[in-house]
């Protein structure tokens, strides 16, 4: 693509060290590292929705939070709008936070139970630098209206709302800062299916209205298919395949993506292809397999190369990237 990406990740890693006391070290050996995100290169372009899928524990939420600097990256470079965010602090960090926001998965814990909607949104508006009470009031009213709530909800507490309404409040809080980029961390997976559709439509409307860029994290492929412009598939802290949505769903290259897509339930009997059943579980990120992390479960393993060498993400002319030894040669 010709335009510069809004978010540009280069070799981003996020490792968690499991701390041990002296006694535990003597018994169980040295400290262990959880490789939640293990070397991700990713570009997100202005105005697009990048879907990020993967099994639970593959590091997709951690990646989203690392981009927003809620977690400090262990290594690698993160650029936002051409500027590095690695060493931001003070006022610069504050400016970055205004531009990049997050919507959380669980609408029950993401709103402070002891605060009214007014207090929650006022906090966000103050963070943006809006201190005039009257303006705050007007803005809260229009925000609530924009996300489909009414002004009469303003002095209610979160527990007085349904899950979908709470998620709308969470969206209003993110919007209050007038961000350019929003990490939507499984924003609908805790909701009923009927409510999911409403929230997804709301997110799409808002994207158009405010020219937002989304990183949409989810594990539900149909949701991802519906909302994303491009999709990245993550496995054990690494991106294994990335492509435009239709390309990825119609022409999956990586064995893991193929298995995922074959698992989508289909109504039409003729369209049902053979499901690829993955054997075993996701290996522990404490001790990921050497070489290609997927080789323990792969149905198309080529041989020893898969066990020793980690495949690189390689792109073809359609910007379809795959990290697999089968694809490379």
């Amino acid at each position: 693509m010709a335009t510069a990406p809004l978010v540009d990740l280069r070799g981003v890693k996020k490792h968690y060290v499991i701390k041990r006391s002296i006694l535990e070290k003597m018994v169980a050996g040295q400290e262990q590292t959880v490789r939640a995100v293990d070397g991700v290169d990713l570009q997100i372009f202005n105005g697009e929705t990048l879907g990020l899928v993967g099994e639970s524990g593959c590091g997709k939420s951690t990646l989203g939070r690392t981009i927003l600097k809620l977690h400090e990256a262990t290594s690698g470079e993160i650029y936002f709008d051409g500027k590095s965010v690695n060493d931001l602090n003070g006022q610069n960090l504050q400016n970055f936070r205004r531009k990049a926001q997050i919507i959380f998965q669980n609408p029950y814990s993401s709103l402070n139970p002891r605060k009214t909607v007014r207090q929650i949104l006022t906090l966000a508006l103050r963070a943006r630098g809006l201190h005039d009470l009257r303006q705050q009031d007007e803005e809260i009213g229009s925000l609530l209206h924009r996300v489909g709530l009414s002004k009469m909800h303003i002095d209610r507490y979160p527990h007085q709302f349904s899950g979908g309404q709470r998620q709308r409040i969470g969206i209003a809080r993110a919007l209050a800062l007038k961000p350019r980029f929003i990490v939507a961390d499984e924003p609908v997976s805790a909701l009923d299916v009927s409510v999911q559709a409403q929230i997804i439509n709301l997110l799409e409307e808002l994207q158009e209205e405010f020219k937002l860029t989304y990183l949409f994290v989810a594990h539900d492929l149909s949701v991802i298919h519906y909302i994303s412009d491009r999709v990245a598939v993550m496995y054990l802290g690494k991106i294994v395949e990335i492509a435009e949505t239709d390309e990825l769903f119609n022409n999956p290259q990586h064995p893991y993506t193929q298995a995922l897509i074959s698992a989508i339930p289909k109504v039409d009997k003729k369209a049902r292809t053979d499901r690829i059943i993955l054997e075993g579980n996701v290996p522990s990120p404490l001790n990921p397999p050497p070489g290609c992390a997927f080789h323990t479960r792969c149905s198309k393993k080529r041989g020893p190369v898969c066990e020793t060498e980690a495949p690189l993400l390689t792109f073809d002319s359609n910007n379809h990237g795959v990290a697999c030894h089968n694809f490379w040669i």
């Binding site: 959380f104 814990s109 993401s110 402070n112 963070a127 009470l133």
Partner: protein, 311 residues
């Protein structure tokens, strides 16, 4: 509908924002008392506690005599309902002829002031340290937690006796001895609660808004743990009052002739066989106060425990 309209009117006027928060605050308080109604033992405890507090505040008005004036003509008088009792000394007199009723009324002052101060300072110290340790963890947490473990290893009363013996009796020393170990319980409570609240997404959301750590702790987390602190504080209040009475009984706390229930019980010790009221009556006053505080505290715990809450 009517309610909605009135709040709509208030909303259009930014200056009335404080009025709304006051209204919300009052509504919460009223809700609290109506919940208390559904818990009879807590309500009884609360009412008795309020009566004791009123008694302490109004002591100069309601006490029939000065609590420290001796009247050697009227030594060891029994309460009025016993033979030889006088209606001017309703609950009798002690060995120096001081009016027991007045001394008991004034004694409530010492018990409540020491109790509230000791608990208040403990909450302040323990809560602040617990908040910092729970939020930041690391070496600070390690040091304070080990110190807390160390203090927990001593029995409270023995520790307080040791400190009072070392520092000498007196009001300030008493408060110091009680808070020196009293903060530990609050530290452990707050530290644990903060650690669990910190993992919730609303804290992460506040972080994503770029709100300062101090503000997150005080404005976001504190309102969610204040209930636990209140419950523990109430339960510890009764304990602190007992501790003060114990130390005064041993002659290490409040010194006579200042009226304190503990030292009054001690005063009557030698006369228990022929003037039982000198020790017994302050003891009953202490018993009822601590009992009511504990009933109230346990009721508070029941009412704020979401597992026991009827929605």
């Amino acid at each position: 509908m009517d309610k909605m309209n009135s709040s709509q009117v208030l909303l259009n006027n930014g200056n009335n924002l404080n009025l709304i928060s006051l209204k919300l605050f009052l509504r919460n308080q009223i809700a609290f008392f109506s919940e208390l109604k559904g818990h009879p033992s807590a309500l009884i405890g609360f009412i008795i506690l309020i009566l004791y507090i009123l008694m302490a505040i109004l002591a100069p008005l309601i006490a029939p005599h000065s609590p420290t004036t001796t009247d050697l003509d009227n030594r060891l008088l029994p309460p009025f309902w016993l033979e030889g009792g006088k209606s001017t000394f309703l609950l009798g007199t002690d060995v120096l002829g001081m009016d027991l009723l007045s001394r008991i009324i004034y004694g409530a002052q010492i018990s409540l002031i020491v109790g509230f101060l000791a608990v208040g300072i403990s909450i302040l110290i323990g809560g602040t340290l617990g908040m910092i340790a729970g939020y930041y963890r690391g070496i600070f947490d390690q040091i304070i937690s080990r110190l807390a473990d160390l203090l927990l290893a001593f029995p409270f009363l023995i520790f307080a006796i040791g400190m009072m013996a070392f520092m000498g009796p007196g009001f300030l020393n008493l408060i110091l001895a009680l808070t020196f170990k009293g903060w530990v319980e609050f530290f452990r409570l707050v530290r644990g609660e903060v650690m669990s609240e910190k993992t919730k997404e609303y804290v992460e959301a506040a972080n994503a808004l770029g709100i300062s750590k101090l503000k997150i702790m005080v404005v976001e987390i504190l309102p969610n743990i204040i209930h636990s602190i209140t419950v523990l504080g109430t339960l510890r209040l009764g304990y602190m009052i007992i501790m003060e009475a114990s130390l005064s009984f041993l002659g290490l706390g409040i010194q006579p002739p200042t009226p304190a229930w503990g030292s009054m019980i001690n005063d009557g010790r030698d006369y228990v066989m022929n003037a039982w009221w000198i020790s017994t009556l302050p003891g009953i006053a202490l018993l009822i106060l601590v009992l009511s505080i504990n009933l109230f505290g346990e009721g508070l715990r029941d009412l704020t425990d979401p597992r026991l809450k009827r929605s």
